[in-house]
Amino acid sequence: MQGLNLKTHTRPAAARGARQSRWVRRLIGALICVTLVAGTASTAFALDKNQIVQMTKLGLDDRAIMGAIDSAGDDISLTAEDVEDLREQGVSDQVIDHLRRRGMIAGESAPADQAPADEEIDPLAPAPAPAPAEGESDYEREERERLEAERQAEIERRANELNAQREAEAERQRQLERAAGQLPRAAQIVRDGNNMEGARMYLEFLSYEPEQGSENWYEATFGLAKALYQEGILSGASTPLLEVLMAGADRPHFVEAFRMLEELSSRIGYNPPILEELTRFYVGDKNERFQAEFNYYMGKFFYGYNRMDLALEYLDQVPESATDYPESRYLAGVARLDPAVNDIPGALRNFEAAILAAEAAPGGNEDILQLGYLALARVFFEVGFFDVALFYYQKIPSESSRHADAVFESAWSYFMKNDFKRALGTFHTLQSPYYSQRYYPDLYILESTVYLNQCMFPKSQRALAEFKSRYLDQRPLLQAYLENTFEPEAYWQMMEDAYKPGQSAPIPRLFTNAVLESLPFYNVHRVVRALQAERAALNANISALGDFGQQVLERVEEQLELKVQEGGIIVQQRLTAVDQELENWELRSLQIEFDIDSEERQQLQQRLQNPNYEAPEAAEAGTTLMVVADDWQPWPFEGEYWLDEVASYRSQMRTECIEQ
């Protein structure tokens, strides 16, 4: 360090010889004079050649002298002779160059790329010192000396600060170089599976603030993201991963980082809007597989933000050979059903393509296969092609969780096409133990309506009674819970507790089951679980991650809280919807009760008018038959539910209506 001698400058007059004391006095006097002459409008003070020489001889650091020059403003003007004199007096070339750059040497203009004036304020710039005056009093002299001392102290302080900064910077550079030398080892450690040790090394490197965008910075940021990702700390990985991705598609780890991003989106729903920036990158030079993944991901991304035109643009670019092709076709089909697009034929084509691709996928893609069939069935149901809809509903295997919905919607299809025997058989299926926990209040209303249409009034009333006891009688509990619960967290906790072994929930399980059927709840639940797992992983490794780990942990806690609130709101909304639905179905059941009374009277009247009318034969026993093979071999239902038969029940009952 070309540091300052603090003791020398703390009390210059006492420490140096008489000659030097005079110099100092002159300098101070000159400075005071210059300051006074310069006036109070400016904080800068004038400087001349001698003062620069004096500062040099005082041993001031070049940067401090340059700071003083900068602070002096533009009043200084030196000739070539002055410059030569300065050089002879020991003023460094650096200071002379600075004067030249500042345009303070006559005949030499300042460089064009001179920094703006507002950036030239040097931290070493001292407050203007008062100049000595003729015939000053003792008080004035003391005051002048005091100000001088303060000024010197200020110069020293700033010089020390600057030197400390330079030292720190030099130290940082040394540490940075040392840590950079460890990066290949960190990469090997992460490859060996010691993720947290690798993450610690990368974090150490990054803590020395390497130049953003530099090769080492890129390697370390990617390495950190990968280590955290592999350790399951996904939220922690998200920030460095995003930085790596935004560094450009031409960087070496872009593809790998993108695949990690796909996983993050899937597991913790990480889809920040900034990811749209990825579309700026050119990925045409990547292999076909990656391009397909990229297009599918961006398609899903835009679908999630309800931008169907962009979603379709990307999804339609996924080639048939891609692994994600079945998913992309299915998603494109759903996007085309969006009211903004409303392309039903296109959607049907997409669903068919999704099904074909799912069947052809290695090992099959059961999820897309089932979703595709269900989507086709629903579209055909909506447009009134009930037979076609039924064809597709029957494609859902009974082992699938979607089978319940398929059977339930089949019941509606049979009902709509007046196939009451099949409709009743389907109701029987849904009342089997395989589906009895499902929330289908309208099932009983449908059943009651079918019986009413067949003039089976007692059965119709029994279905309504069942609806009442199973759903309506439980409704007050639901209403009381909704009225007394306000916090989203409480709703979430209720769901967490509802299935604890041996614990009773405040509302019947039938209603919490209705929440389980909600896709938004399922999605939020998955994210909450992922965040909880991440929190556990973080807590286990918090010491290795230091401050960074603490920050990530806080972020995870924050996200977890937000997701729990979001989940709680979904639960509340679903339960409120359930309550509203029950109210509507209750009204409908009252209407059916009225219809039963009315129809019963009418039938009685018909019977009185046709005393010789013979009612059709009623079924001998039971309510249903099952079909166990293609040759329609009927077996009477005896009370057992076999999985392979449960979707094949038929009613044998005949209408009891009297023809007019």
Partner: protein, 248 residues
């Protein structure tokens, strides 16, 4: 083997009970997760049968049976016996039973070979010392496992439900056994292993008709030709049984 199986089951039950008692928050979360999984999976793990019509879990059964053991060279037997069973579940049960057959001419009858030897050798042939073991009675305890349950149509009119089981256990058998020199015979009690298969037809929810096959593995009589060979002394008589059991 049977003992090991039973111990394993008992440990499993204890572990399950302990797990249920110490349900942790993680277990509670798991309960919700498992429940939710049932709503969002492409392939649920469903039981093939629900609301089984013929239920035996926790029930005690008592029954009688008879049968035929024709695997022995000198005698064939018509055992008559009874048994009591307890069913831990519809699949697993234990059964204790015994059969009596020591009634010569009625439950124990000579085979043609025996008749031939008697008529051919006359007084020089003593059935007690010149033949092998003659069974007097046996008792045993077995574990039954019924992995198969099904139904079938009889003439397209009536459904019949049945299950198929396998059984294994230990028992004791009393025999009249000639000594090694074939100079005298005495009554011996020996241990035997029991292996079996069976079919139970459910006539009513309480009454089953049973068809069973049993094999008994035990160490038979020692003679000069097999006294040095343990495996040469092993015997495996086999019998077929028909019976009925009532479940309380």
């Amino acid at each position: 083997m049977t003992t090991v199986k039973f111990k394993w089951s008992a440990i499993a039950v204890l572990v399950a009970a302990a797990t249920a008692l110490s349900a942790s928050p993680a277990a509670a979360q798991q309960a919700l997760d498992e429940e939710l999984e049932q709503y969002w999976t492409s392939e649920r793990d469903l039981r093939v049968l629900r609301d089984r019509l013929y239920d035996r879990e926790g029930r005690i059964g008592a029954g009688i049976y008879t049968g035929l053991m024709s695997s022995e060279p000198f005698y064939y037997y018509i055992p008559v016996g009874g048994r009591v069973s307890y069913h831990f579940s519809d699949q697993l049960g234990v059964e204790v039973g015994g059969a009596f057959m020591n009634a010569e001419g009625v439950l124990t009858r000579n085979t043609q070979l025996m008749d031939f030897l008697i008529s051919d050798r006359g007084e020089g042939f003593d059935p007690a010392t010149d033949t092998e073991d003659r069974f007097l009675w046996r008792a045993n305890a077995v574990v039954t496992w019924s992995p198969f349950y099904g139904k079938l149509a009889l003439l397209q009119r009536k459904l019949s439900h049945f299950d198929l089981n396998v059984a294994a256990g230990l028992g004791a058998v009393s025999v009249e056994r000639p000594d090694i020199t074939r100079e005298s015979a005495s009554t011996k009690l020996t241990v035997e292993g029991v292996l079996g298969v069976g079919a139970h037809f459910f006539v009513t929810p309480d009454l089953t008709v049973r068809l069973d096959g049993r094999g008994y593995l035990y160490r038979g009589a020692q003679f000069s030709h097999n006294e040095d060979s343990f495996f040469g002394q092993l015997r495996l008589p086999v019998e077929f049984l028909v019976g009925a059991s009532y479940h309380f």
